[in-house]
Amino acid sequence: MEKEFIELIKNHQGILHKICNIYFLRDPYKEDYYQEILIRLWKSYPSFKNQSAFSTWLYRVALNTAIDIIRKQYLLPKHTELSKTEYNIAEYKNNIESENKDKIYLAINQLSDIEKAIIILYLEDFNYNEIAEIIGISENYAGVKINRIKTQLIKILNHGQK
């Protein structure tokens, strides 16, 4: 099972990077949260029963974990002991902001946690039915939400804020 999981993750690592960029774009602990998502995926893997595509299952668990990490940060004491150099924040920030193509990440970063989840699924070409299933809302409502979020995103991209 371990080998199978590693192989699947190696083929889908891009998804995890995208989720981490969306939820922890400027967070110095981004790499650490990437690891946490990976660990939680591994822990949940026995429950993956091939009823859906691996990527659908992966998105559901990874999005849940990312949102869970954000929620639980409010309960955690501030972790200031880890040195900033360990994660090389400055270099990371420069890389992100200097690249024009990362504009979309900066725009998505202004959305709420749930909106981020919905829009990444839309941008990754999931259909409304799959999005509704992962998020847990009706298909119609998923469509309504996607439209609203797209309008918001365009506004942010054109004017710099919501």
Binding site: K10, I39, R60, N64, R71, D125
Partner: protein
């Protein structure tokens, strides 16, 4: 820019973009961990706090049992009150850290985002309610006990007077009122302490509420 350009912009953003990928070895290493480094550290801090506060509380309870049961120490209300308050403080500190640890270690990753939010809210609500009931029972019992002891010391309700020498009645009334208001004060403090979390949950619930009334947070 219009809505249809979003997808192409997203694709462009990832075209030829190489993120650092994990090797098989580092994946295996990560999978062997319980939590990532920073989360492990935070959890360890809380576990140590829980252990420390529980230990102090148990030592305190042990000392009290030793004093009152083994040595048959007989103290007045004046001396009992501060001792009881210290015990209460230690109990509250230990239990609040324990609750925090419990919430932090529970997950529902396999569910849909909405169901997982519901599970989290339910858990939090249950903990908040249980906590509040425990505090109510504890502090109200303590208040009753103090009144009972006080009446026993002044030898009955008929000797109740404002200028009592043991403990002046106004002081006792203030103390009782303080004890009765402690659970409400703790509730208020917790609401303030976790304000950001509650706001986040409220926002998420609002976003996911396709059938109004299904998520109430």
């Amino acid at each position: 820019m219009d809505k249809n350009e979003l997808k192409s912009m997203w694709r462009d953003a990832h075209y030829m973009k190489s993120e650092s990928n994990f090797s098989k070895e580092s994946l295996e290493k990560t999978m062997a961990l319980k939590h990532s480094k920073v989360i492990s550290k935070s959890l360890l801090d809380i576990k140590l706090k829980v252990l420390l506060y529980t230990l102090i509380f148990l030592i305190y309870v042990g000392l009290m049992i030793y004093a009152f049961v083994y040595l048959s120490l007989n103290l007045s209300v004046n001396s009992l009150v501060p001792l009881a308050l210290v015990g209460v403080f230690l109990l509250i500190t230990a239990s609040s850290e324990f609750v925090r640890l419990f919430v932090l270690t529970k997950t529902a990753d396999n569910l849909s985002l909405k169901d997982s939010l519901l599970v989290f809210c339910e858990k939090l609500k249950r903990i908040k309610t249980t906590d509040f009931i425990i505090y109510i029972v504890f502090f109200y019992l303590l208040a009753i006990l103090i009144i009972f002891n006080y009446l026993a010391e002044i030898r009955g309700i008929k000797n109740l007077s404002w200028g009592n020498e043991i403990v002046p009645l106004p002081l006792l009334v203030i103390l009782i009122l303080m004890l009765l208001s402690v659970p409400w004060f703790i509730k208020y403090q917790n609401n303030r302490r976790y304000k950001k979390l509650f706001l986040n949950l409220k926002e998420s619930a609002h976003q996911l509420n396709d059938q109004p009334g299904t998520i109430g947070y």
